[in-house]
Symmetry: C2
């Protein structure tokens, strides 16, 4: 009798494992069950479906060669049995059967397995506040919800929307609603920044500024305390501690949780927060049961600790590994670096590894190099400034993370992906310094951003570069009394500096152009701590080195310079 | 007395080392000499200057903050003395002086040094054929030549141009001449393919097809045998063994050679082919003399052998390392992976590591995985097919190289740079399989191209996938008698396959759609070796696995499929 495989879950990891395994073991009988009628879809594409970039939801369920991945397709093309609208109710590990229920007929059945895979995915977290059950309140749980949201918008039923949650899905949905449909959209985030724990605050601040420019009303440090409705049970608004926002559509995107009840009830080891515990072969505590995708606990390769990384790309890679292992091939999942990338209107924001904030909380001797280089040769048409931050440990010189923000193209992806494979490999600053990035003016500067960030990190570690933190600088700009002995030393071109001197006065804002510092250093006040300012921070570093050399050592460099300040957006910036 | 540093060469490595060292050792006296009047320019930007993307040559000599990097700038801003139009004549290592000559006054002088750096760059190779001295024949040696070329074109003096040499600079110049100026441009390359030794033939063929589409006349396997001129000494054409091409402009771009005479005459160790030999600290055989940039010999990190890698990006990184070492900081240059990237009209072509051809010549058990995936989620607007090839050693599973070809954006750069840092680190196929590429639909497919290429390589190594080489397939398509027992098994959509069946007949061209193979396999002939064909090769692999399973084992998959065939361009393709 042929080996029987049952896979619970038909979105990403499940079908991937099933099809890969069928290729490795064509004799085996492989059955996938899913409680939904729609399967094998690109859940990450939902915001692009809602915004209209993807016109038909079937495109999200199609192969690249335009076949819809439904049960019939899996049977005909892959030789895999898929049973939709079939819920797995319980696992009997002793008998090695999964009890399933046909949701249409109510019929129950035991499916025997030799090996079982749990790819039960995640469920959206629902805030414990009033009004979540109102009509017009959605989570981005599955394709049906997305279809319903788009239907309401396209019927003109949505004028005002509130997105609760400033993570990736929240921001993508805010863009989708605003960009194509012109829905008045507000985004509320309980934490003080967007993308909390994913990027450091400077990057979140640049993103927020861009969203505001694009007419998304963003409220950070402001969670939803209630969802309001009318007498017919229709949503009318969202209340926060600060205000009430009108809404005929509310999208709750406050994260997801592993769907692991089945595993837990079967007695498999599950982390307290719900992630199914697996080994590197993706076996659960029962060696005949594998798990992969959004339902498992992973290991963070930077911290070595347990983490949760619900991402379609990981689910696919894990699915293949489960297939390998079930077939008897050695193949392991080592863990996750934590790579993240997102389009937000005309910008791209991305990160890999851990943030500086997280690294400090983990006890690393963490520091960061904030840079604002050109994304390609500065003379090449279309060149743009990107912002990158390298997070590293000063003692071990190990690189812990990298973040990037720039215009919407693949240039951020280039550096973040390169960084990710290096970080996964335990890279130190020198590895980033030595990374050989393919160079031609249309693609890169002669010194690539990744090398340049490593140079800054190296200068910081060697104490050749002393920087002022951006938040401290911005606070001082709002209130000079916070640091009464500070003054700015602005070394940019006189045409750039003029309005600042005029606004803040020549005592507070000392202007000496970069290429005149060596001649005119006597003009620079002795009694002040000087914050050296330029566009990107590189000229400021050179100036600091020179001033150190002549004995003026009370200086700090604003790393990233005005390129970052402008992108964060400040109200004190002269016209 | 302060330490004295002399740097010979003021384009890339020299100024970089000088400025970095000045920051590390502000007391030291650093002098850069260069025989040219124009220094510190982005030589790789020359084609973009000629084509008009960069309007003024001064942009190539400017910083990103728009200051021209001339001698005055280096003095004022960097504290580095630069003496232009000053030629280094000889090094007296015993006395530790460099004899230099002022090219304007003819005055000679000895510059004492404690440490010396040679950054003498490269000189263009000039073919030993008649006519190279004619007016209108140029090498891309320096900015002066570029200025003169652009002047002639913009004055309307150039109707027909011939570019000799199908390397990167030759192709870039051919684009520059054709694209903006509409010059009738021919490109001749002595070797059977463009970009010889940089990419394998399939990639060169796709590039050639694109150049032909863009009205560049490309002649491969056809070197220039003579350059022809009129009685006034003006160029009139280029003769090849096959034809005579009219030309009022000839650009000779047949590679560069290290400029190492000074080093050789000083008794420093120089490779037979001219590269100055250095250790990892970039010291020559005289520990007080360093060398970097286009004049040195490097180590290839894949083969471990000596190589020549004249690239601006490497020169800059090496310059910094020289500065570090002169200042007493430990810093090493490990060698080069050989990363390469190029824009060619609307396409990008890139490579890292070594080609399959080179790998086989080096004795590796080399094979390749040729793939044609989507560059981002297939449902995302603007998605395009990219072609990637992973070169690997079947015995050790070590990845030796990767090549990419796609539309002109940064998506190829993403994968080639990621591959480069992995290859530099000795990566095996599993590392490529596990690479964590940041995923969102606007940037990547859920299974990134780099992972997908590794999956194919893995299938090849495990003999689960048997492929037919593209050249063998194309030869057979031209002449079925070469392989009389072969037939095509085309599993694409009937609408795609129809014209092929009509043209080649149902015996030669068996059509069974991918999702019907499991039902209709009985129709597939037993007595033929079947070449399984689809768009990218993935469905063909699945089909091969299934046919193996039912006992039809005489099949081969065309990896990369019609996506690659179409890009190579064939005349037998039905309308």
């Amino acid at each position: 009798m042929s080996t029987k495989i049952v896979v619970v879950g038909g979105v990403a990891a499940g079908p991937k494992a099933a099809c890969h395994l069928k290729r490795l073991q064509p004799d085996w009988e492989i059955t996938v069950v899913d409680q939904d009628s729609l399967i094998s879809y690109g859940g990450c594409g939902i915001p692009y479906y809602v915004c209209g970039d993807v016109s038909d939801e079937a495109e999200l369920r199609s192969t690249s060669f335009h076949m819809v991945r439904d049960a019939d397709f899996f049977k005909r093309a892959k030789g895999v049995d898929v049973r939709t609208r079939t819920r797995a109710l319980a696992i009997n590990r002793k008998e090695k059967v999964v009890q399933v229920e046909d949701l249409d007929s109510g019929e129950k059945q035991n499916l025997p397995y030799d090996k079982l895979m749990l790819a039960t995915g995640a469920k959206p977290f629902v805030l414990p506040i009033e009004g979540v059950e109102l009509d017009g309140v959605f989570t981005i749980a599955n394709l049906h919800k997305a279809i319903e949201i788009k239907k309401r918008i396209s019927k003109g039923l949505v004028t005002n929307a509130v997105v609760i949650g400033g993570g990736a899905i929240g921001v993508e949905m805010a863009e989708a609603l605003t960009d194509l449909w012109g829905v008045n959209t507000s985004l509320v985030e309980f934490m003080p920044q967007l993308l909390p724990r994913i990027v450091d605050w400077q990057f979140a601040a640049m993103l927020k500024t861009h969203l505001l420019e694009k007419d998304v009303a963003v409220y950070t440090s402001e969670g939803a305390s209630a969802i309001l409705g009318d007498e017919n049970g229709k949503v009318t608004g969202v209340r926060t501690p600060e205000r009430t926002l009108e809404a005929d559509l509310v999208i709750m995107a406050v994260g997801v949780r592993p769907r692991s009840e089945l595993a837990k009830e079967a007695g498999l080891t599950v982390a307290p927060w719900g992630g199914i515990v697996v080994n590197k072969c993706l076996q659960t505590s029962d060696p005949d049961i594998y798990a992969a995708g959004d339902c498992i606990a992973s290991t963070n390769l930077v911290t070595g600790k347990e983490t949760y990384a619900p991402l379609g790309s990981l689910a696919n890679r894990q699915g293949r590994i489960v297939g390998d292992n079930m077939a008897g091939l050695a193949s392991q999942f080592q863990g996750v670096v934590g790579s993240f990338i997102m389009k937000a209107f005309d910008r791209c924001i991305a990160a890999t590894g851990i943030t500086c904030e997280a690294a400090r909380a983990e006890g690393f001797d963490a520091d960061y190099a904030l840079t604002a280089p050109s994304d390609r040769a500065h003379f090449f048409p279309g060149e743009a400034i990107a912002v990158f931050q390298l997070v590293f440990d000063r003692s071990t010189r190990k690189v812990l993370g990298m973040q990037g923000f720039g215009v919407m193209n693949d240039s951020i992806s280039v550096r973040i992906d390169t960084a990710a494979v290096m970080i996964a490999n335990g890279a130190v600053i020198e590895d980033f310094r030595d990374a050989e990035m393919a160079y031609a003016p249309p693609f890169s500067a002669a010194i690539d951003s990744i090398n340049a960030a490593a140079f800054v990190a190296d200068n910081l570690c060697a104490d050749r570069l002393r920087k002022v933190d951006m938040d401290r600088f911005l606070a001082w700009m709002d209130d000079f009394s916070l640091e009464p002995d500070w003054a700015a030393l602005d070394i940019r071109h006189p045409l750039e500096v003029g309005p600042f001197v005029e606004k803040f006065g020549p005592e507070q804002w000392v202007a000496v152009p970069y290429d005149e510092v060596r001649e005119r250093y006597a003009e620079i006040p002795e009694d002040k701590t000087l914050i050296i300012l330029c566009d990107a921070g590189t000229r400021s570093y050179e100036t600091q080195i020179f001033l150190d050399h002549i004995g003026k050592k009370n200086t700090m460099v604003l790393s990233g310079g005005f390129n970052v300040v402008k992108r964060i957006g400040v109200d004190w910036y002269p016209e």
